[in-house]
Symmetry: C2
Subunit: 215 residues, 2 copies
DNA sequence: CGAAACGTTGATCGTCATCAATGACGGTGG
DNA sequence: CCACCGTCATTGATGACGATCAACGTTTCG
């Protein structure tokens, strides 16, 4: 049994802690602007106060793979700070964004002196490994139709500010393929003709899941 | 440009540190035995002194996805300890194994008191997120043939104690499909008729990579 | 007793059929 | 103009089934 995955991850505990720290600068960022660019060197660290970003890896064949959607309280830039590697993924604002910005050195120091922060970061990293692992195992071992269904079951699409392109990149498929798969789900009456919200109860979903498993 | 990925990950720094700690019990484990079972509760923490393990998630359709191969100095069980979740992946000895075993509470305490250990664990987790992300982006956005070629280029297969089943599970395909893909590579003279070691220089490999990208 | 013959088992491959997913291209409707 | 879809063709990857082959132990016969 896998634990529930939220498509847009948040970390309220971390946000609260950050807001209490002195000397954190705030910045606003417009949708489409980039906080980090893949392969460059990270110089700062950001924590989201408000809004949503997407983190994606661009392969040399120009295809994008969205690693994560981050919301309130999520931190960015800490991976590179800890490993010393170039930036793993481009980070781009999806909505209007308010972020706290910290100096790398400052953050490193905080990690050593602030035990609460330290613990929260450890937990955050552990969570990321787990969630990513659960997700990719899914994506690799089930057909797209199933993965999409599972994904839709996690949220009410109407409230999501994500474009179909984003959804498609998250699934590592094209928008065309996403639409095709949505149509298949519609034909099977798993989702309604208009919206994208799922038509199934938890138990029905589980039943479907079993069906996939048996084949 | 992605940094090099080693198929079997190690962490010598961590191993050295662990070996200096007092009161670490040593255990030996036979190939095939399991250190952790998915979905159970983690009670201990292990660090590999010698040998190789595989960590894999088993989906409800009984397919396995190998997350990692761990060698010397890699730690297991810390994710669950930090997040409080059930065990993410089954961990099974591939070769004869010697591990250090630590109590969860003991480790948590060490994390708070031993700054060096703390930093190494932070770095380790950050590395895992990065490596996993790089790998899955690859697997999702390129065809199997290419992913396999890339994988073979990372090591000299003869020395690897991995079975074809393991290799296949790592790629999320069946052994049959793995053999088929190997055959294709052989027909194109990328690997020799007998072994599995790659026939290409770094530059040739890069050229191939470009070819895939252009299509 | 030893060597040839036999059967068992597991790994691999050829082949055919099928499914999953994509690409291309043009049409439709806001 | 852009988002979406119908259609056709193609590629990617898998499943099924049977044939082959090597490894290994066991039987059988000289």
């Amino acid at each position: 049994m896998s634990q529930p995955i939220n498509m847009i991850r948040t970390n309220q505990e971390l946000l609260q802690l950050i807001e209490q720290l002195p000397g954190m600068q705030q910045h606003t960022v417009k949708p489409g602007q980039k906080l980090f660019r893949q392969d460059e060197k990270a110089r700062h660290l950001y924590v989201i106060k408000q809004g949503i970003v997407k983190c994606y890896i661009t392969e040399e064949n120009t295809k994008d793979y969205i690693l994560e959607f981050f919301g309130e309280g999520e931190v960015m830039g800490e991976l590179e700070l800890l490993t010393g590697s170039p930036i793993l993924s481009t980070v781009e604002a999806v909505t209007e964004l308010v972020v706290y910005k910290a100096d790398s050195a400052h953050f490193l120091q905080l990690l050593e002196t602030n035990a609460t922060l330290n613990k929260l970061i450890l937990k955050e990293l552990a969570t990321r490994v787990s969630q990513l692992a659960i997700r990719v195992s899914y994506q690799q071992l089930y057909p797209i139709e199933y993965t999409l269904l599972k994904l839709l079951s996690l949220f009410s699409y109407q409230e999501l500010p994500l474009s179909k392109k984003d959804l498609a990149d998250y699934l590592a498929i094209t928008v065309r393929s996403l639409n095709r798969t949505l149509k298949q789900l519609r034909e099977k009456n798993f989702i309604p003709g208009d919206g994208l919200d799922i038509h199934l109860s938890k138990t029905e979903l589980d039943k479907l899941l079993k069906r996939f498993d048996d084949e």
